[in-house]
């Protein structure tokens, strides 16, 4: 202990006075023309200073705020002591993707929201510290692999290698199950590889965390679209005793306004997949092309919209707009992302909604006809409902549009799995938190159950389903 003998109250007083440590980052004018990660991360000194702010509560609220129950005071204590590898080991007891979570979790709504220091001042920067410890371990090349569990001789299939599938795979393999993940794309990671841009989450980091899972013993089969390649029933026939469906909510929503199929109009999924997964920003070194628009409009106000509009800037846009039908207060995007987008020069067109896309003779989009909106009474989501202002139509000149208004459930797995109950939106129905579906031995979690949500909630669902599958298979073995 570094603080032996110091009066606890005095100690607490002193620590509160140390401000939350900022993370150095690329200046907006530099970063807006590259795809490198925006924040550089903490130095060792900054990490130790920040870690020492943690008062090591006896009953830490932060742990309860974390969907995968990371031992937060435990790993922070290690950092404060300068034992960075030890900190990474503590993290990995409960979380196999700490470098990812440290970057993309909305900590302000989870662990940091309930940090006691946040009541009077600023919460401990738990996410930044998590990121620091995971990066330190990876950069040191000293990633520790836990002792393999004794094999149980039972096979589990996971459908989808996104955050939920990766989490449950790591949990089950640690319990001794033979785990195979089936992934439709040619790379594992789901939204971590195709959706979240390099400048927020470098793909090398995702790859390193996927490689870590492989070292734990998880098998990953890519290019395997369950439903077409093999069905759920065929997986059972091959000897898998439980199946976890974590296929996400990857089907893009379009608004069905006239002209939406004109050339130059993308779904955010396509735009981001081209840029992130296929590395179209490095065309022609990489073979996938992407339209480098001069005037790009992104429709929507969520994190996906922010990722798209910041990508457009980095692809060389002169004008990059966010078109959103409510105001900034109602935007679902993280405050940090909106802030970054503004710093980089994104123009926000709020209380604005597209009603038609207008094309040129070649069928290429040249303008968006928009309508002004005003806010009415709160709707079922609790947000004030946008109402069109009559006669307020105006044009915005564009050559590229990215529609980022949400995603739906992909129908392939439900359509090819008899007896799998889905709700009217096509999401899989589960019983409580276990992820149990209407089919015996079939579990589901993540966005295919909840609709588009966050990485960490999908991981939390994977964690809970791992427990449920373990109980189910233990019961099965006894019989």
């Amino acid at each position: 202990m570094t603080h032996t003998g110091v009066n606890a109250m005095e100690n607490k007083e002193k620590k509160v006075k140390v401000p939350r440590q900022k993370m150095p980052e690329q200046a907006p004018k530099d970063r807006v023309r590259n795809f490198d990660e925006v924040p550089f991360g903490y130095t060792e000194e900054l990490a130790i200073t920040e870690a020492k702010r943690c008062i090591q509560c006896k009953k830490p609220g932060c742990v309860a705020g974390c969907p995968v129950d990371v031992n937060i005071p435990g790993f922070i204590k290690k950092i404060a002591e300068g034992d960075f590898l030890g900190a990474a080991r503590v993290l990995k007891e409960t979380n196999s993707l700490p470098a990812v979570c440290g970057r993309v979790c909305p900590q302000e709504d989870q662990c940091e929201k309930v940090c006691i220091l946040g009541k009077k001042g600023e919460a401990v920067a738990i996410g930044r510290l998590e990121r620091f410890a995971a990066d330190y371990e990876r950069n040191a090349g000293k990633v520790s692999i836990p002792e393999p569990a004794p094999p149980r001789g039972q096979k589990v299939a996971i459908v989808g290698a996104g955050p939920s599938g990766l989490t449950i795979a790591s949990d089950l393999v640690k319990l001794g199950y033979e785990v195979t993940i089936f992934e439709a794309l040619h790379k594992a990671g789901g939204v971590l590889v195709y959706g979240i841009p390099e400048f927020r989450l470098p793909k090398a980091i995702v790859q390193a965390e996927v490689d870590y899972l492989k070292k734990l013993g998880v098998k990953i089969v890519v290019n395997a679209l369950i439903g077409r390649y093999k069905t759920v029933d065929e997986l059972f026939a091959e000897g898998y005793e439980a199946i976890y469906l974590a296929v996400g909510a990857g089907a893009p929503v379009f608004m069905n306004v006239p002209g939406e199929n004109l050339s130059g109009i993308y779904s955010a999924n396509e735009y981001l997949t081209r840029s992130n997964l296929m590395k179209a920003y490095r065309f022609p070194e990489y073979a996938t092309p992407i339209v480098r628009g001069r005037n790009v409009a992104v429709i929507g106000g969520g994190n996906v919209a922010m990722d798209s509009v910041r990508t457009a800037l980095r692809l060389g846009a002169e004008n990059a707009y966010i078109i959103y039908r409510r105001t900034e207060v109602e935007m679902p995007a993280r405050i940090e992302e909106v802030h970054h987008a503004k710093e980089e020069g994104v123009q926000f067109k709020l209380l604005t909604n597209p009603v038609e896309y207008i094309g040129n003779e070649q069928g290429w989009v040249k303008a968006i006809k928009c309508q002004r909106m005003e806010l009415g009474e709160p709707d079922s989501s609790g947000r004030r409902r946008p109402i069109p202002v009559k006669g307020s139509e105006f044009l915005i000149d564009v050559d590229t549009v990215v529609v980022a208004v949400g995603t739906n459930a992909n129908p392939i797995v439900p359509a090819t799995t008899p007896g799998l109950e889905v709700n009217k939106w096509g999401y899989i129905v589960t019983k409580g938190e276990s992820g149990e579906t209407s089919r015996c031995g079939v579990y589901a979690g993540g966005d295919i159950v909840t609709g588009a949500a966050t990485v960490i909630l999908a991981m939390g669902a994977g964690r809970k389903a791992a427990k449920a599958i373990h109980e189910y298979l233990c019961g099965k073995k006894k019989k």
């Binding site: 390649y229 130059g264 396509e270 073979a287 996938t288 070649q362």
Partner: protein, 278 residues
Amino acid sequence: MYRIIEKTFLQEIVVKMVIEAPEIAKKRRAGQFVILMTEDTGERIPLTIVDSDVQKGTITIIFQIVGKTTADLAKMNAGDALPHVLGPLGHATEIEDFGTAVCVGGGVGVGVVYPIAAALKKTGCKVISIIGARTKDLLILEEEMKKVSDQLLVATDDGSYGFHGFVSAVLQNLIDSGEKIDRVFTIGPVPMMRVICNVTRPYGIKTIVSLNPIMVDGTGMCGACRVSVGGETRFTCVDGPEFDGHQVDFGLLTSRLRMYCDQEKQSMESCRCGCHGK
């Protein structure tokens, strides 16, 4: 990895390739396709599965060299391996005994119509096939098509072989001759499919087209392949690739196919084959 077992040039720029992909071979039905990559820095391109052999665990594709990726693919040889092949994708062709079915294939589209003709023949349909190409040297699969058809008609645009003119004229002649046609399947360049649909529309002959829009993932997650069918937006990779041709907005398909023209040229110029887009 997916090993290339066999490669044959059917014509100067048309290649047939047999690829080891046992799981795909097992599941595949006529009308379905794969998405493949030639290298890790490559792009994902869709190609129809022309044939499969469950025993040997292979699938067959036929493609025309039209740009960088198909040029790269054509340079690969038996023994080489493709890093990624995803499939089978899309819905299988609806195959039943329709009575008389006419299969119209143009250019490399003959390769796509071939498995459909073969499947129709098996169900007991009377199969009349019309195949065509710009010129005799580009015509493919004539012998194979003959084997699965009750009648085979051939056309070339320049008259170097068979009927002088378009396959659409051959179909029109067939209709004029009083042949009772219950269903038409047509696969080839967009202008060809469009004209074939215009020929059959006045007679109310149901006409199925297999569409070839730009695709990325091929699993329904992006909408790059969206088309308008009967005024509704559909994703070709999941809802198709086959649709009722009389409902398809071919103008939209044509303009969307041109989206990357400039970049495709640039990509071809910088490709290692040194063919500079030719």
